[in-house]
């Protein structure tokens, strides 16, 4: 979807001045609250409480302290000299893999766990794909003292077995979802149902910048610390701004978290990298922005992969964390107004980039950010000598079963 230039400029100005999402949860045409009536009072209450939370200095100070002492923020910005030599560019990596539990997901989980406690929830539910959000939710709930149930697709439980054990060890109940596509989408359907069944007692700790308003806004507010830190660290380490910023996009929480601080920096080009899976055919990938159309899934109007009859397509990606047919509405807006460009990297390309990062940097990235690494290298080769910032959203330990299978 493309938006006319004048309209695009005014939407961008509104986004930069903090007016988006608007009172209806819209990022331009995208977003909103396409939720059952049962959830509407709970969504209004959540938005009210979240706004109070962000305005409450004591609550924010307590969260900041936890981010420092328990999550380990700020995470480092690493100069990637091995990749620089190979790519012919200057490369910095924002190390969310070094955050507690091994991915950016903890930023959101911790913030929402604090919010759940404030709302007096009796039970937290969460969905998970790769298991990173599930582990983060389990850890954050343990930290604030709330019971946590994590819904996970049965297929994902097989391919992310180490994370299932971690969640259980951290005291969460892992609920296998053995219907639908048996991945993140089916798990999200089921977590929503658990919330619909008890909108007051249950707090739904949604893991990405998707879902009905206020989630895309709430998750971005909790993740934008990634870009705020990176922007400052980059200025200190390199002076000035990066020429290009890369992050992988599934639902898009780490990407929006990294991008947000750079949206007003016109000299910084922004690239989101989706899962190109096995190829461009229907059902072969999970590239909602590259290959989808506007539609409604899980409470939000955004770019979506669906067929001519409106049925959501099955998706395919080697990376469970990107294996989702929808995407956050703020990304749909950034694409429509032309502020960010969205590309896809295939399974094979991600594997190759992952291997290169291990070999040259001594860092095992997760398969998700490996998609961003591949696209950054391709861009670096066409734009020699430029300064590149890459969001390394998580570490790859959880992918060992997949990697072992692929190598053998």
């Amino acid at each position: 979807m493309k938006i006319q230039e004048a309209e695009a400029r005014s939407l961008m100005a509104a986004l930069l001045s903090g007016e988006l999402p608007d009172s209806e949860g819209r990022f331009g045409p995208f977003g909103g609250r396409f939720a059952p009536e049962t959830l509407m009072p709970a969504l209004f209450r959540l938005e009210r409480q979240a706004r109070q939370f962000f305005a409450d200095e004591d609550a924010c100070r307590a969260l900041d302290e936890e981010r420092r002492e328990w999550v380990g923020r700020p995470t480092p910005l690493t100069r990637a000299r091995g990749l620089e030599r190979a790519w012919g560019a200057q490369v910095w990596i924002k190390r969310e893999d070094l955050a507690h539990t091994g991915a950016h997901k903890i930023n959101n989980a911790l913030g929402q766990a604090h919010l759940a406690r404030r709302l007096g929830a009796a039970q937290v539910v969460a969905e998970t794909g790769a298991g990173q959000h599930g582990v983060a939710a389990a850890a954050a709930c343990a930290r604030v003292g709330l019971p946590c149930a994590v819904y996970m697709g049965a297929l994902d439980m097989e391919r992310q077995a180490p994370n299932v054990q971690r969640m259980r060890q951290l005291g969460a109940e892992v609920v296998a979802v053995d219907k639908g596509d048996r991945t993140l989408r089916a798990a999200t359907d089921e977590a929503f149902r658990a919330w619909v069944a008890d909108p007051h007692g249950v707090y739904y700790l949604l893991g990405s910048a998707v879902g009905p308003h206020p989630y895309p806004w709430l998750v971005r507010e909790l993740q934008k610390i990634i870009g705020e830190e990176a922007r400052q660290q980059f200025a200190q380490s390199a002076g000035g701004l990066p020429d290009a910023v890369f992050a992988c996009v599934g639902g898009g929480s780490n990407a929006i978290g990294l991008f947000h601080a750079f949206l007003g920096d016109e000299s910084a080009r922004i690239f989101g990298i989706e899962a190109g899976g096995k190829g461009p055919g229907a059902g072969q990938n999970a590239a909602s922005l590259c290959a989808g159309k506007p539609g409604v899934l899980h409470g939000s109007y955004s770019m979506l992969l669906y067929d001519d009859d409106g049925q959501v397509l099955e998706t395919s990606s080697i990376s469970a964390g990107l294996d989702y047919p929808g995407v956050g509405p703020e990304h749909a807006l950034l694409q429509a107004v032309g502020r960010a460009a969205y590309l896809a990297a295939s399974d094979e390309q991600a594997l190759e980039a992952l291997a290169e990062c291990c070999r040259l940097e001594g860092i095992l990235p997760a398969l998700e950010p490996a998609h961003a690494l591949f696209a950054a290298r391709a861009w670096a080769r066409e734009n020699p000598g430029k300064r590149i910032l890459i969001g390394l959203s998580g570490r790859g330990d959880k992918d060992m079963p997949t990697l072992t299978q692929t190598l053998s």
Binding site: A35, P36, E37, P41, D189, P199, V296, G299, D309, Q311
Partner: protein, 256 residues
């Protein structure tokens, strides 16, 4: 609303003029088998006062296990909104007004304006869209309104009074009162609290109020008489179809 021939008005009248409470059986189109669509529709239209037809969707997030199962089966049988509309057109007037229940995305994919224009030819009097709350519904409501097709609003026990007033005023055809928070299909008795809630919705609404989610026995239906204008029977009919039983007889038995 004043034109007696609009779909919305036919739907309202069928419920308001039925023996109370009116019965609105639900089935998912093309479940359990596509070829049974016409006979199921005929039987339910004869036994009920209006029929709700479910459009299958890949991600039915407000439905319980029974209707999820039916939806999945119908999709496996290649049932689409387009197929349903053609089947309805071919069927002719089933003798009771028909409302479609669909999630947003199949409707968006078909095109709202195109759908609104087709409803009349297919005997579709109204639409119920569980993931299209009041704040988001105006474009759809306006398109359907032009053709006299009802967009039925749903209310729940958690809906605050002010919002309840707006939803009741904005609804067409009838008001769909969800009787418990939760996904569809749970078995529930008619508690004093539920009766109070349904009576309250009745006071706020000039349209008939139909209670949904979880109604499955004659005893419940009797208990709802005088409390609500109509009853939607969803999961119970779908389970009856799964067992291969006669859905018309099941619905008639609810009246005894």
């Amino acid at each position: 609303m004043s034109n007696p021939n609009t779909g919305a008005e036919r739907l309202r009248r069928a419920i308001a003029q039925a023996p109370q409470p009116a019965l609105l059986p639900f089935f998912t189109a093309g479940h359990p088998r596509r070829q049974d669509f016409h006979s199921i529709l005929g039987q339910l239209a004869a036994a009920g006062d209006a029929v709700e037809i479910g459009v299958p969707f890949s991600d039915p997030m407000a439905d319980g296990a029974t209707i999820q199962r039916a939806s999945e089966k119908a999709l496996a049988n290649n049932v689409t909104l387009q197929w349903i509309l053609r089947a309805l057109e071919a069927h002719g007037d089933p003798g009771a007004p028909v409302a479609l229940m669909s999630y947003c995305n199949p409707l968006l994919a078909y095109g709202i304006e195109r759908l609104a224009a087709r409803c009349g030819d297919c005997g579709v009097c109204g639409l119920i869209v569980p993931d299209l709350p009041w704040e988001e519904c105006e474009p759809v409501r306006a398109q359907l309104g032009k053709q006299g097709i009802a967009l039925v609003q749903m209310v729940t026990p958690a809906t605050p009074d002010e919002r309840l007033r707006a939803l009741c005023r904005g609804s067409r055809g009838f008001v769909y009162a969800v009787t418990a928070t939760g996904v569809t299909g749970g078995e529930r008795r008619v508690s004093a609290e539920m009766a109070r809630y349904l009576k309250k919705v009745g006071r706020y609404s000039r349209l008939p109020v139909c209670a949904g989610f979880g109604v499955r026995s004659a005893e419940q239906v009797r208990a709802l008489s005088g409390v609500t204008d109509g009853v939607i029977v969803g999961s119970a009919v779908v389970e009856c179809l799964e067992r291969g039983e006669n859905p018309g007889a099941f619905v008639r038995a609810l009246r005894n």
